[in-house]
């Protein structure tokens, strides 16, 4: 059965998609894992980093994105098929990586997010489309070793659908003042959700992202994150740190031709860090 990890933070722009994509690539290519990326973020960034945007558009127009899943919930229809929606052998590395698949998101989710929220009971989670994704995926999850869920910057219904199938979650943070404020509410909310739905959802850890090593604030914050692991109830902070990097920014372009992960992420820094992050992720997932 797949080990499912949601990548979440209430704040946007902290590197959720970057970390999801990096883990997906390294797990599939360097560790031979079968990986499914589920893009729950209506911004659709993870999707268009893995498949050309025109292909995504074609799929979106034919009901083969997650928009259709939630639209079905609102309309009482049953059009969505995860089997049809999953795009196989994605990425620009070698023209596609065997064992790396994506379940695409849709910009149209923005239009219906509020309506889905209105029919959801956030206290007991007994009503509303909390388990729509789980029900739609069914036995498909068995095909994968790892499923990575790129969540939107909220803990709304769409994110809860990701948590409802998750074994653990990762919290990417930029090591600055504001990014840190979001950690306790995530821990509280996920714990509440896990209790109500009788699931065990482990906080795997915090991953420092967009680190600028020459910045005193960033270094101080990382030090405090590591100390807080002991002093407060924060999950562990990963040893591997994702640096702020032009290579990582350029890696988002799915139209660029690359043959290796070294070419995609750059040899000098980001590649080594992301490779180490994946090894650390695997060791935590195995515990």
């Amino acid at each position: 059965m797949a080990y499912v990890t949601s990548i979440i933070n209430l704040k946007g722009g902290v590197g959720k998609t970057t970390i999801t994509l990096a883990l997906a690539h390294f797990l599939a290519l360097e560790h031979g894992k079968r990986v499914l990326v589920i893009d729950l973020d209506p911004q659709t960034n993870a999707t268009v980093c893995l498949i050309p945007e025109m292909e995504w558009k074609k799929r979106d127009e034919t009901g083969r994105t997650l928009y259709q899943l939630f639209w079905d919930q609102l309309k009482g229809t049953r059009v969505f098929s995860a089997e049809d929606a999953i795009v196989r052998r994605v990425s620009n590395v070698c023209g596609g990586i065997d064992g790396l698949d994506v379940l695409p998101s849709s910009l149209q989710l923005i239009k219906i997010q509020e309506r889905i929220t209105q029919i959801t009971d956030f206290e007991s989670y007994r009503h509303g489309p909390i388990f729509s994704l789980r029900d739609a995926l069914g036995s498909l999850l068995k095909r994968y070793d790892h499923v990575l869920v790129d969540c939107p910057p909220s803990l709304g219904v769409v994110t809860l659908n990701g948590l409802a199938i998750s074994n653990s979650y990762l919290i990417p943070v930029i090591p600055d003042t504001l990014s840190m404020l979001g950690i306790p509410p995530i821990l509280d909310r996920v714990e509440h959700f896990a209790q109500c739905t009788r699931r065990n959802i482990r906080a795997m850890g915090i991953v420092v992202s967009k680190m600028r090593a020459q910045t005193i604030l960033h270094n101080d914050t990382v030090r405090r994150l590591r100390e807080d692991f002991y002093e407060r109830r924060f999950p562990i902070c990963f040893d591997s740190i994702v640096p702020e990097s032009t290579h990582i920014a350029e890696a988002a372009d799915v139209m660029t031709r690359v043959n290796t992960l070294q070419q995609k992420y750059g040899n000098d820094g980001p590649y080594d860090e992301l490779s180490a992050l994946t090894r650390e992720f695997l060791s935590h997932a195995a515990r």
Partner: protein, 144 residues
């Protein structure tokens, strides 16, 4: 200004070699000069002067550089004006060095997988593909 320690202040001075003795004498002379000249002391305390402009560094040994070929055309402008066919034709008239100059100047191959390609048609295909993709970037997100 702290005084330079004289060799006679210590028994270590008795074992100094001739070269060391010469160095000590030189430093002592420099120290004396600094003590006597407050302006020199101030300049030394201020640190090294700012680096000279490029025009003033004529004495530096020239670095060996590869000849850089300027891109003969802007592929984005050509594609906008003449379309894909027009860009193909414009590129077909260029030699390999010029094609690679376009790839380099417009960063069309950041991973440099085309660095060793020698067939112009492969480079032309890469340029057309990348320029077209970048010009159309974001189109799928319009009017959703």
């Amino acid at each position: 200004m702290p005084r330079v320690k004289r060799p006679t202040d210590s028994t270590e001075g008795e074992s100094l070699t001739n070269e060391t003795q010469a160095l000590v004498e030189t430093l002592r002379a420099v120290a004396s000069q600094i003590e006597a000249d407050p302006a020199l002391a101030a300049r030394l305390m201020a640190g090294p002067a700012p680096k000279a402009e490029s025009g003033e560094t004529a004495q530096e040994a020239p670095r060996p550089t590869r000849e850089v070929v300027a891109p003969p055309l802007d592929p984005f402008a050509v594609l906008r004006q003449a379309g894909e066919q027009g860009l193909q034709e414009a590129l077909a008239s260029l030699d390999l060095a010029s094609l690679k100059a376009i790839v380099r100047a417009y960063r069309l191959d950041p991973a440099r997988i085309s660095a060793r390609w020698t067939a112009p048609e492969r480079i032309i295909e890469l340029i057309v593909e990348q320029v077209t993709a970048r010009l159309n970037h974001g189109r799928a997100f319009e009017r959703v």
